[in-house]
Structure formats: structure tokens, C-alpha cells
Symmetry: C2
Subunit: 125 residues, 2 copies
């Protein structure tokens, strides 16, 4: 098992998630040791949900799993980069392809692109 | 000024840094409010150094500044994505183009690519 430096940031390290084909950054989430091990063993991106305080298999509710195609870690082993195949096209809970759909233009926010699904339908909230 | 959610993570939010042309992820660093404002006003990527505990203009020592070409923020305003022009080619203090040059292959680490500069020469350490 490759050791990551979880100590530096209180047990949670950031994981950048990138589309394995387009290289678009889809989202950023956090991993604890269990999430890291689950990601390695299952091949499905697994994070630690800071709001729910539990292990979170991305897509477990929406069906939009992230199949891991490649894993990189950074020079000092405190950040993960996952290159994934995003099932269902959208990574963001808003229905957008990427969580990073807000562009800063001259001090204001422009939303780039349109949602690919209706969150109300998918999450039944 | 666009408000980011610094409260959620004790005043520091992660900033993903991506090459504006190739979309390669170069590094991840952290920003506090001052770093965010300095990045917006100067157009040079500015972070907060957790080890030195001060504002850090990326490249101030090596000359490898990051000129900001585009800024995105995520859905809940707690992560920044910078698309930059990396001056001097290498973003990593090891001399590699990207900090994410360690690839996980069957439980071991393979280094991808070669350093573009000798850190001993650049940092005079």
C-alpha cells in the first residue's frame, strides 16, 4: 500500500478529479485512509464526505459512478489526482458536467454550459 | 469582490492549477483571502504557504511565475481552479513540469517524465 501523508491535513487530503479523455477538471473531493484504500481496491472513486462524515462512493445515489482509469499522487504525497470515466456524464450535483462551471469574468460570475440533468429528478429531493 | 467560502476549511481553500493550453494539472496549493485578492489584482498566481505561513507569489524564488489566464470556482465556492501560463515550463520544485509526476501502477510508483531543471541550481540550496 502506497503511503499518503494524511497527517498534514488532519486525516483528509484533497483529490482532484479529471476526465481521463478531455482532461477537464470535474470536481475536487477529500479522501481519508479508508476512502483511498476503497478507491484502490474497487476502482470506483470513493471519498470522505465532510458534511455527512462518512465514506462516500461517488455516484451511489445518482448512479453516476467514477471509474478510475489512472491515479497520480503529487511530489509530497499529500494530494491525489484521479483520471476517471464519469458515468452519466455529469459529476456535479447541480447537473453540470463539472463542478467548476463558474467562470470569473471582470469580478462577476458567468456560468459556463448547461446542466445535463435535473438534480430534483436524480436525487428526489 | 466574489466571496469564497474560507470558513469551511479554517481560512484556506485548495486551488487546482491547470495548464491553460494542455489542461494538464500542474499542482495544488492553498489560498487565504489575501492570496485570492492578490491573484485577482496582480494576475500572478499567489498562494498561502502552509510551511512558511506567509503569502507566496508562485515563482518569486525560481522566476517561474504563473500568469493567470482563466479563473473558475466550484459550485459551492470552496475550491478555485486556475488556468495558467507556467513561465519557465516547470511548476514543481523538483524540476518536473507537474507535481503530479508520480503514477500509481499496480501498487507501486512510476515517475512520469524527467525534471526540466536542476532544483539545486534554481533554489541554491
Amino acid at each position: 500500500m502506497i503511503k499518503l501523508n494524511f497527517e498534514k491535513t488532519n486525516g483528509l487530503i484533497p483529490a482532484i478529479v479529471q476526465d481521463y479523455k478531455t482532461s477537464d477538471v470535474l470536481m475536487l473531493a477529500y479522501m481519508n485512509q479508508d476512502a483511498w484504500e476503497a478507491t484502490l481496491s474497487s476502482g470506483n472513486a470513493t471519498y470522505y464526505s465532510r458534511s455527512r462524515q462518512n465514506l462516500w462512493v461517488k455516484g451511489e445515489t445518482s448512479g453516476n459512478l467514477q471509474r478510475v482509469k489512472e491515479i497520480r499522487i503529487d511530489c509530497d504525497h499529500d494530494t491525489v489526482l484521479l483520471k476517471v470515466k464519469q458515468i452519466g456524464e455529469a459529476a456535479c450535483h447541480t447537473g453540470h458536467r463539472s463542478c467548476f462551471h463558474k467562470k470569473i469574468d471582470n469580478g462577476s460570475i458567468t456560468v459556463v454550459g448547461k446542466p445535463l440533468f435535473d438534480p430534483k429528478e436524480v436525487y428526489k429531493k
